[in-house]
Symmetry: C2
Subunit: 223 residues, 2 copies
């Protein structure tokens, strides 16, 4: 069976878990902390980044959430997530990159640093200017999601795709860390509620990090 070295609040681990689960791929979880990985984890990925997927039986190691998702897209027919014609697939990949890279750099990463790393590791107070800036940028990204779902059924077009899971993975981590305010974002909020209520999402919403409880609404699929 596949073993997924992951970190609960790593949005790329979450994106990978959602995609594997949607495609019906069985896997076992191995918990790692990016700031203190196991020797085994570093031996599999010297770059020290989660997620890493390893199959001991076939001695295959897959690294990078997008490389992993493309691998299963190519090998498993169930629930295509990078679908449509070449231009539609390019649109899906554009949005995946936008959330994996820009949303992460603008919102998720600063929140992880200020609210998680400073609290659990550095034992320092968060920088309120940094937090304000991350939340301002979160609003801009949510506005773009409002626009997308106002014009399309799902983020990348008429069908649910990896773009929806990449975006929801980032948002779920930001939401856990108290960085998402849905005020004024009804369209995006409606879309996220649908994502949250998928069975693939359920396990993520019940996981808690010790010493860092999520806000009350976080796991509630109706709010």
């Amino acid at each position: 069976m596949w073993q997924l070295y992951h970190f609960s609040l790593c949005p790329f681990s979450r994106k990978t878990r959602l995609a594997l689960s949607e495609k019906g791929v069985a896997y076992e979880l191995r918990r790692e902390y990016p700031w203190d990985g196991s020797e085994e984890f570093y031996s599999r990925n010297p770059a020290g980044r989660t997620p890493v997927l390893h199959d001991p039986a076939r001695d295959v190691t897959l690294i990078d959430s997008q490389a992993i998702c493309e691998f299963f897209e190519e090998t498993i027919d169930k629930t295509p997530l990078i679908l449509g014609n070449a231009a539609q697939r390019a649109e899906i990949r554009r949005l995946v990159a936008l959330f994996d890279q820009n949303f992460f750099a603008d919102v998720t990463h600063p929140l992880m640093h200020e609210k998680m790393k400073k609290r659990l590791i550095l034992r320092a107070a968060p920088d309120s200017g940094m937090l304000r800036n991350a939340m301002r940028l979160a609003h801009e990204h949510l506005e773009y999601i409002d626009w997308l779902v106002g014009n399309r059924r799902w983020l990348a077009g008429s069908q649910m795709s990896l773009a929806d899971f990449a975006a929801a993975a980032q948002i779920s981590v930001a939401d856990y860390l108290g960085g998402i305010d849905w005020g004024g974002h009804d369209e995006a909020h409606g879309w996220y509620r649908v994502m949250k209520s998928r069975p693939s999402f359920r396990p993520l919403l019940t996981e808690k990090m010790e010493g860092l409880p999520p806000p009350r609404h976080y796991g509630d699929v109706n709010s």
Copy 2:
């Protein structure tokens, strides 16, 4: 004909140009500056990032270098760049992500900021600590390339792939900015000389940015 909105020292624009040229796709260049893009450019990509590829005839816009490369991999058979079986393709994508993300964040981006942006726009002196750090990290990445080409014919395996072009694109920008010291990296240097001598690379090596000349050896395929 495709129009590529690019920036000469953007490594992702370079990776895209190399891939298009290897695959025999004709395109026209439109020069943009990431810090001062044209209205037309922002209307095509509100995120304001190069590269963007646009086909006016079919009104198709492709954004993100990896989405663009995957698009042509799917639509043009000539010179496959993401090739082999699914695991080999995952290895190519892992390395592309490593160079696009880690090499860029560790080396290319700090060099662009310290040596290009500060000189041309901010009119400030580069921070020597930042430069030293970028060059130290460049050595670590070159060491990894030494190791890869010591164990494989090309970076991702027995065949030339997009991993080679992604890496060479980053290195060529870092080299333009004086950030590459090949001392102690004979294997990586040999591999890069081969990349440099490909016809697809030639146009990149002759382009100069005004006010920012490259080091003497930069365009020389023998050094």
